[in-house]
């Protein structure tokens, strides 16, 4: 079977698929937020940027591939009203568009867009905060670049803001507001199949476990709505037309995006899933949860049954740590990185 072959290819008898590398120290510990690690590979300069959120600060570290140079930068959340309360950051994510890479930071007050090295803020969008504090929390969360020129950001009201991004400069404009969700957006992801033609461009997830599948354009179109079961979907990915969703119950589900057909259901973790990532060239899937475990899986498309299969490959236990971020460092899944609550390091693993 395809899955067993993959396992055989990647494993030698008696050895482990991945081994731990030297960690990268960061200036603050990671906060317990979904998808709290982002990585951007800068091949021409042989380095990788990582971002980890700590309360109202984004810790950026630039790590050279030879392991010799690390430089750090911290970005603060913006408070345009000079309020007394700090604005906590919900998420930081790199958005890769054909023309440029940007870093998007979402907080309780709004959305900040930076150049990918964090050097200059190119755009600020303030959220519509009501005068008096409401019981409903207000924040932006869920970030994704879509196709050639869009960046989409979710809001706690359930709305999704679509920004049109020029190939350079700061003339970013809000071009659309999508109303597909009634509950707070948790995560969003765009198709990462790497160039193949796909019908669905974007999937969004909310606190009720509901998933919306979109087609991008001047006006985004809702292709499908996959209902949830009142369990929050904290992390979502889209690969070759398949939605991979991680839930608070520790389950991972694979859906066909456009039809909503359930392909697979995995009792993957013993606690709330905090992060999913896919290595698009190899179909490797990474899942991480509060249960201290990071698991590596393999996704295979089976054209005959028009379905997707999932096989388990590997476990890593980060002792006594509630993991909050896990990302592959490259498109093949040769290496991945992990962050945990209260941990001031980025732990790295490489294939043996």
């Amino acid at each position: 079977m395809a899955a067993d072959d993959a396992k055989a290819v990647l494993l030698r008898e008696g050895s482990s698929m991945y081994h731990k590398e030297k960690s990268i120290q960061i200036k603050n510990s990671a906060s317990a937020l979904y998808n709290n690690l982002c990585a951007l590979r800068i091949a021409p300069r042989r380095l990788t940027y990582f971002t980890v959120v700590h309360a109202n600060v984004v810790n950026m570290v630039s790590a050279s591939w030879d392991g010799l140079n690390y430089s750090h930068r911290q970005l603060q959340s913006k408070e345009p009203n000079v309020a007394t309360s700090t604005s906590l950051i919900m998420q930081a994510a790199f958005c890769s568009l054909p023309s440029r890479d940007l870093l998007v930071v979402t907080s309780q007050k709004g959305i900040q867009v930076y150049e990918s090295d964090g050097s200059i803020m190119v755009y600020w969008h303030a959220l519509d905060i009501p005068e008096t504090q409401t019981a409903q929390a207000m924040f932006a969360r869920g970030i994704s670049a879509v196709r050639d020129s869009y960046i989409c950001v979710g809001i706690s009201t359930g709305a999704i803001l679509v920004f049109d991004v020029p190939s350079k400069g700061s003339n970013i404009t809000l071009s659309d507001v999508l109303e597909g969700h009634k509950e707070s957006i948790t995560d969003m992801a765009s198709e990462c199949c790497g160039g193949e033609v796909c019908i669905a461009d974007l999937v969004s997830a909310d606190d009720g476990g509901n998933l919306c599948v979109w087609k991008s354009g001047e006006e985004f179109k809702l292709l499908n709505h996959i209902p949830g079961f009142d369990i929050s979907c904290s992390s979502v990915k889209l690969w070759k037309g398949t939605v991979v969703a991680g839930y608070g119950t520790g389950q991972i589900r694979l859906y066909e995006a456009v039809t909503g057909i359930l392909h697979a259901e995995v009792n993957a973790h013993a606690r709330w899933i905090y992060s999913l990532d896919i290595a698009p060239y190899s179909g490797l899937l990474l899942s991480a949860a509060e249960d201290s475990l990071v698991r590596v899986w393999h996704l295979t498309m089976t054209p005959e049954s028009q379905s997707v299969e999932i096989a388990h490959l590997h476990n890593e236990c980060v002792t006594d740590t509630q993991i909050c971020g896990a990302k592959f460092c490259d498109a093949d899944g040769y290496a991945f990185a992990v962050t945990g609550y209260d941990l001031s390091e980025i732990i790295r693993y490489t294939q043996s």
């Binding site: 009720g208 392909h263 509630q322």
Partner: protein, 390 residues
């Protein structure tokens, strides 16, 4: 983040405080010069507990607490608990108050982290409430206040979604970030490592609503299960226990939030330096800045409901020591690491002119007459007078 976090933080920390004080009051040696009989001491203890619980569940105070709002800073919350701890004739020195607060916060941090589901934080809160109810079961007036709070908790929290509870949990975890104070009882029970981090077991029952990891099911397009596979989950998990009760009465099932102290298990902390570089504590403000004006306003409204016990003469109050000896207590105060200073507001010591001016302005907004009596419950309580009582 979540604007519904403060009531849970307050009630759970308050509950832990009561457990610790109750244990210390029982364990404390009676000073020879007091020459009290055993029954008297029992009354003293009950009186102290009743006074604190009455203050904690003061109607006006809780009204303010339950309003949607962001969490207070660590400094502000510590100020509220200082005030609460002095709501009776009991007195605590600085070092004992510091230690009390360390224990309270580490205990609740532990409970929040170990909660199998975010919603279980509510069960932990009910465990604390159940114990508080037991402390005052013989005093109907206070009992009714406690019952009212149960109703408010049920009304506010039982309808929240799992995602909203996770947001509350994440907000609490940011509040507790980077706190790694070692607690003797946790070290002994092996729930905390010597580096101050809690043990997160990869065995035991899974949370209610979660399946034991290990099963992969794959389906055909028609929805039929076509394959089942097992994988090794790297742990030793068992099926979930039954769900705890979210009602005013009921079996909470979880032990988190129940009283872990007893007379034979004294409370001790080891103050380890928690950070290797000061850059880690970007949030801990040890500069002598007073609270931001907005926070002072909130605090004033909140504390307007808290009476301070004015002692007639110094002898009628009695001191509680969280350490084994007075010398140990003194030593703890001197040797407390810089990064663990709570920076409790001492308005009189503030040299900052601007801060004093701000405070005077706030005072001006509240004071109606020259009456400085701190025992008045009116909202116009003098802020400085309240602070002076700390």
């Amino acid at each position: 983040m979540s604007s519904r976090t403060l009531p849970l933080l307050f009630i759970n920390l308050g509950g832990e405080m009561l457990y610790i004080l109750d244990q210390r009051l029982r364990a404390q040696n009676i000073p020879a010069d007091k020459a009290k009989k055993a029954g008297w001491i029992e009354d003293d203890r009950r009186r102290v507990m009743n006074d604190i619980i009455t203050t904690m569940f003061n109607k006006k105070f809780l009204e303010e607490l339950f309003k949607p709002q962001e969490l207070y800073s660590k400094k502000a919350l510590r100020t509220v608990f200082d005030r609460l701890a002095h709501a009776s004739i009991m007195r605590l020195n600085q070092a004992s108050m510091d230690k009390l607060y360390d224990l309270m916060t580490m205990a609740f941090k532990y409970q929040v982290l170990l909660c199998p589901r975010p919603k279980d934080i509510l069960l932990v809160s009910f465990n604390h409430m159940d114990a508080i109810k037991d402390f005052v079961k013989d005093t109907p007036s206070i009992l009714s206040q406690v019952d009212e709070t149960y109703r408010q908790l049920v009304e506010m929290y039982t309808t929240l979604s799992s995602g909203e509870f996770q947001l509350i949990r994440q907000t609490l975890l940011i509040f507790f970030q980077d706190m790694h104070i070692r607690v003797s009882i946790f070290l002994k029970d092996k729930v905390q490592n010597s580096n101050g981090r809690f043990v997160l077991p990869t065995n035991g029952p899974v949370p209610y609503g979660t399946q034991v990891p290990g099963l992969i099911r794959m389906f055909s397009c028609a929805g039929e299960e076509v394959t089942r596979r097992q994988f090794s989950n790297g742990g030793n998990y068992t099926a979930a226990l039954r769900e705890g009760s979210f009602e005013i009465f009921g079996d909470r099932v979880t032990k988190l939030g129940t009283n872990m102290y007893s007379v034979s298990r004294p409370v001790e902390t080891h103050l380890s330096g928690t950070s290797k570089n000061s850059a880690q504590h970007t949030k801990v403000n040890v500069a002598p800045n007073p609270l931001a004006k907005e926070e002072l306003n909130l605090l004033a409204r909140l504390m307007g409901g808290l009476e301070v016990q004015k002692l007639g003469n110094a002898d009628s109050g009695f001191r509680v020591n969280l350490f084994s000896t007075d010398e140990e207590e003194e030593e703890a105060l001197i040797s407390r690491p810089d990064d663990l200073l709570y920076g409790v507001i001492n308005i009189q010591a503030t040299k900052d002119q601007q801060a004093n001016a701000e405070l005077a302005k706030i005072m001006g907004e509240f004071t109606e007459s020259g009456d400085q009596s701190p025992s008045s419950i009116s909202k116009g309580d003098d802020l400085l007078a309240m602070m002076d009582g700390l």
